[in-house]
Amino acid sequence: MAGTGTAHLRQPEDALLRVEDLVVEFPSRRGKVHAVSGISLDILPGETLGLVGESGCGKSTTGRAIIQLPAPTAGHVRFDGVDLTKLRGNTLRQLRTRLQLIFQDPISSLNPRRKVRDILSEPMKIWKRGSPTERDQVVRETMEAVGLDPESSMDRRPHQFSGGQCQRISIARALVTQPKLLICDEPVSALDVSVQAQILNLLQDLKARFGLTMVFIAHDLAVVKNVSDRVVVMYLGKICEVAGPDRLYAHPAHPYTEALLRSIPVPNPTVRPSAQDVLHGELPSPIDPPSGCRFRTRCPYAQERCVNEEPQIREVAPGQYVACHFPLSGSQSTPVPVEVAAGSPV
């Protein structure tokens, strides 16, 4: 039983996207890499789901598995009532126009030899949407929507733009097929803070304007908090905690969430970074993940039970779900974990 549980899922008929027991494994010479081990999540229409975790936690793999690139090893991905894992070939390709990805590195994700005009009209050409003039019109409108001037930019190539502008082009490219779901994989981590704020604001605006639903993948907790309606914290291919951003950041229930929050350097000199609060060690190998709770090797509160029994996700406060035998209670600073009657599958 990889069982991380599904307690945090909502009514299947409400969700635009519902991922159940998603497993992604990659073969490697040293054994199977357990990139994602049975995670479940759902997104309501118009919602932004933040996926946060350190590198190697499986957040990007989850994002890619949703659009079946590559197809997951096991599990279901239901998008708008259709199980994507059951689709093949052309049907899947056609459906992918409604799920679009935005990548981390804006410069390398654009073809350097093509003009912006071609980059943006290509998706419509492939699907034979509209006449050339209509396509041109869509390209112009989309460029304006992402804050680029069509007149001066359409006939330029990616290298003539800055990183932030390239990210705007990537966003525009994702939008021309009129997707319902946008999967943003670290869309701002390659950008400077001043530009990062521009792009984050832009994504919020576009979401409202085009009625988008978003999966927002990032390692920066502050960024995720800013954009998300619901946040999923991942660690080594598992979900640790799911909650609304304000609840999660004020009262983290999972020791890992707490550690993550405490590790963030705050731009305030009166907050002294203390050595004791830092998480020790590093991420264990996903080839041979720890038994029981995967976080136990670095968890300051780990006990016998954490070694033997995998924690199931359960609700600890309204709207807050955690996979931990000894979730933290009350305020963030409470160091003593309180045992909650656990183990009962919800």
Partner: protein, 394 residues
């Protein structure tokens, strides 16, 4: 450095008399602490790159000093010149197509006019650098042990055995498990965080007095970042080593640097002791930078205050204040006249005609007081200690 009109904002001394300039220089050089505490003195450093488009003024008239055991945080966005500044000081730039002017005095020795051999003797032994990318900064075909001992064998003339033992002790010190085994491993066998610890061990091997850390944690995860920053701080304290911590993240330097210098478009735009800087931000750029960072304690979906536009082209920087085209407070004067770096008391320097939080606009020259014709800055802030910043520095 020579702008069409002959004087430049980074040369405030040029605006006043040369005697004043000399006085200002000597004052910075022999300030408060006894002279033997002073480790590094950078005076009007300029670094330019010759390119097909013209000279790129990557570092344009930067001056500061650093005492033993102190930490200076240099903050800026990409392209602000922070990395080039660190490398210019250490002399780690290619010879071709690079022009450096000014003075870099390391314990009295001018690094810019010193011979290649002299500088080489300082590298590793006196000053060392921890680079940003631990993946590519280590030699992939050399064992960890060799990379750590190389400097000690060369500079300290240690024999193989002593150097090996010191390397082992160093690995323990920087928190590497199974140090003896690691010494025989190659960089690819270690994780990013471990490699950064190795980099730190390499840098510390000869006991340098000055450590440059150029974005030491940018390539690492937050939990590992915290470990590495704590490690750097501990080593620095134990060894009474001075550190220049270069980063784009104000959060990284906030709790760890004694003093912070903010760079924009090749210039220092604000410099102050850490607490002073955060309490009384004067430079609009610093303020904008702080506001654009999503705050952890802000409610979700709060609108971020982005800085419009992007940094200027360093081949043809704007004639006035370099931040003026993006500044919300900018007025006519900002677009025409480059502001000098002014001292506003409490060792707080800023390069702005209309500093944030000061009701009286900056007066520098005599003559028609055009500044008073306009209103004070729009953000009122509690008591601004320096009433009339007038002293030019550098």
């Amino acid at each position: 450095m020579s702008t069409p009109q002959g004087t430049d904002g980074s040369h405030p001394g040029g605006n006043s008399s040369s005697a004043e300039k000399a006085a200002a220089v000597s004052r910075t050089a022999t300030a408060t602490l006894p002279p033997n505490r002073r480790l590094l003195e950078v005076v009007d450093l300029q670094t330019q790159f010759r390119t097909a488009r013209g000279m790129v003024r990557a570092v344009d008239g930067v001056s500061f000093s650093l005492d033993r055991g102190r930490t200076l945080g240099i903050v800026g966005e990409s392209g602000s010149g922070k990395t080039v500044l660190a490398r210019s000081i250490m002399g780690l730039l290619p010879k071709r197509n690079v022009v450096r002017h000014g003075k870099v005095l390391y314990e009295g020795l001018d690094m810019l006019s010193a011979s290649a051999d002299q500088v080489r003797d300082l590298w590793g032994a006196e000053m060392a650098m921890v680079f940003q990318d631990p993946m590519t900064s280590l030699n992939p075909v050399l064992r960890i042990g060799n990379q750590i001992t190389e400097g000690m064998r060369f500079h300290l003339k240690m024999d193989r055995k002593t150097a090996g033992a010191t390397a082992l002790a160093l690995l323990k010190e920087v928190g590497i498990p199974e140090p003896a085994r690691r010494l025989r491993q190659y960089p690819h066998e270690l994780s990013g965080g471990m490699r950064q610890r190795i980099m730190i061990a390499v840098a510390l091997a000869c006991g340098p007095k000055l450590l440059f850390a150029d974005e030491p944690t940018t390539a690492l995860d937050v939990t590992v970042q915290a470990q590495i920053l704590n490690l750097l701080q501990r080593e620095q304290r134990d060894r009474d080593m001075a550190m220049i911590l270069v980063t784009h993240d104000l959060g990284v330097v906030a709790g760890r640097a004694d003093e912070i210098a903010v760079m924009y478009a090749g210039q220092l735009v604000e410099k102050a002791p850490t607490a002073t800087l955060f309490a009384n931000v004067r430079m609009p750029y610093t303020e904008a930078l702080l506001k654009s960072i999503p705050a952890l304690d802000a409610p979700s979906h709060s609108r971020l205050q982005a800085i419009p536009g992007r940094p200027p082209d360093l081949v043809n920087p704007p004639p006035g204040c370099r931040f003026a085209p993006r500044c919300t407070y900018a007025r006519d004067r900002c677009h025409e006249e480059p502001p000098p770096l002014l001292e506003g008391g409490q060792d707080h320097f800023y390069r702005c005609w209309y500093p944030v939080g000061l009701s009286a606009p900056v007066k520098l020259r005599s003559g028609p007081d055009r500044a008073s014709a306009v209103d004070g800055p729009t953000t009122p802030e509690p008591p601004a200690p320096p009433s009339e910043p007038t002293k030019g520095v550098e």
